[in-house]
């Protein structure tokens, strides 16, 4: 049961209630912030996660990360072709 009963919400008790709300809202920040941080970290790629200063909202949210395994000395065209193929495979996988 709440300590302050509904029948006795006068001016003095109202002040206590407002203080309680303020403390709880401040405390809620400490509870939610780690959660949000986890969420934002999950949307960063391996480079962005080490960036200083860290941002809560990543400028370029990443959900899929592709890695290209191209031979040394590959031309721009070959790399682009690999990239297109990789994204095409991913698309096909999504369609299945």
């Amino acid at each position: 049961m709440p300590i302050i009963q509904p029948s006795e919400i006068d001016r003095r008790n109202k002040r206590i209630v407002i203080t309680i709300y303020i403390i709880l809202v401040l405390g809620a920040v400490t509870q939610i912030f780690p959660f949000l941080w986890m969420l934002s970290s999950s949307l960063k790629d391996n480079i962005e996660i080490y960036k200083l200063p860290p941002k809560l909202i990543p400028p370029r949210p990443t959900m899929v990360e592709l890695q290209f395994d191209v031979p040394e000395g590959a031309t721009q065209k070959e790399i682009e072709k690999d990239a297109v193929l990789a994204s095409f495979y991913l698309l096909k996988k999504e369609q299945m």
Binding site: P2, I3, Q5, Q31, P34, M38
Partner: protein
């Protein structure tokens, strides 16, 4: 009080065999998975246990005398006691939180959800997240400190700070314990408050003379559980620091794990586990004796 046709059950009745049969799987698994390992551990602690050729050589109390002379054992017990002491600093946080949450009328569900979410998260998630915060190079805490113009700290890499760092995340997730206190608060009859209002009691008087005495028994129980849990801490030091820096966070459970599963000294490991077990039994008996757990006593 009894009418004819109703059955009576008392402790002195003949056992009902059907009931015994239904209970049997539960009892058997409990004995097999709880009591058998316990007894086995006590037996193992008297051997220089060898995994390849169990049970190895019988050494009597050799493991125990060794444990009492091992300088590392006294260090890990000191570390554990410090961590227990530090984590006891936070036992009032859930009480305060529960009292505050109980007072909320508008947005009751919202506030309770917010504070319970960290309790739902797996402990490992919280630990990994905080390990990231503590990182001296790119952790959030040092970035904030630098932003405020303060020197960056080593956090988990600092032997003086490491123990405190292990405990702080626990202070910041009081949700689970607060939930239990909240249940205790809800069990306080409304008439007591109403009578207090008629007697002219204000907020603080009601808090001090009605609310707190009513949840003190619960606090006693939670304190016992907290101390047992703190003496058995394992995953936090294991994941955060692995016992370092300079063995400053090596606790009893971690030392047992290392001896038993890294160095395969099963006998020595179980010896320390048995010592911890009997220590906790004695400690808990003392605590139960000191704290009254009956609210109307």
């Amino acid at each position: 009080m009894s009418r004819r046709g109703e059955q009576h059950y008392s402790a002195f009745d003949k056992p009902k065999w059907a009931a015994v049969l239904f209970l049997l799987p539960g009892i058997l698994t409990f004995i097999l998975f709880r009591y058998y390992p316990m007894v086995k551990a006590i037996i193992m602690s008297f051997y220089d246990y060898s995994i390849m050729n169990p049970p190895g050589e019988f050494v009597g109390f050799g493991n125990y005398t060794r444990a009492f002379q091992d300088p590392m054992v006294s260090l890990v017990w000191k570390n554990t006691a410090t961590i227990v002491g530090l984590s006891l600093l936070g036992i009032f946080i859930p009480v305060i939180l529960a009292i505050l949450l109980d007072e909320v009328r508008g947005g009751k569900v919202l506030f309770r959800t917010i504070y319970i979410i960290p309790a739902i998260m797996p402990a490992m998630v919280t630990i990994v997240l905080w390990k990231w915060f503590y990182n001296p190079d790119y952790g959030l805490l040092n970035i904030i400190r630098q932003g405020l113009g303060a020197q960056p700290l080593g956090w988990l890499n600092d032997p003086k700070l490491a123990k405190l760092c292990l405990v702080i995340p626990g202070f910041l997730s009081p949700g689970y314990t607060a939930l239990i206190y909240l249940a205790a608060l809800q069990g306080i009859p409304r008439q007591m408050y109403e009578a207090a209002i008629i007697d002219g009691a204000g907020y603080w008087q009601k808090l001090w003379y009605i609310t707190l005495p009513r949840i003190v028994p619960m606090m006693g129980i939670m304190l016992i559980l907290k101390i047992i849990g703190a003496f058995q801490t394992f995953e936090a030091p294991f994941v955060y620091t692995g016992g370092g820096p300079l063995n400053s966070t090596k606790v009893v459970a971690l030392y047992i794990y290392e001896e038993a599963f890294n160095f395969y000294r099963m006998g020595y490991g179980t010896t320390m586990a048995v010592i911890l077990f009997f220590f906790l039994i004695v400690l808990t008996c003392l605590q139960v004796r000191f704290f009254k757990t009956d609210p109307d006593a």
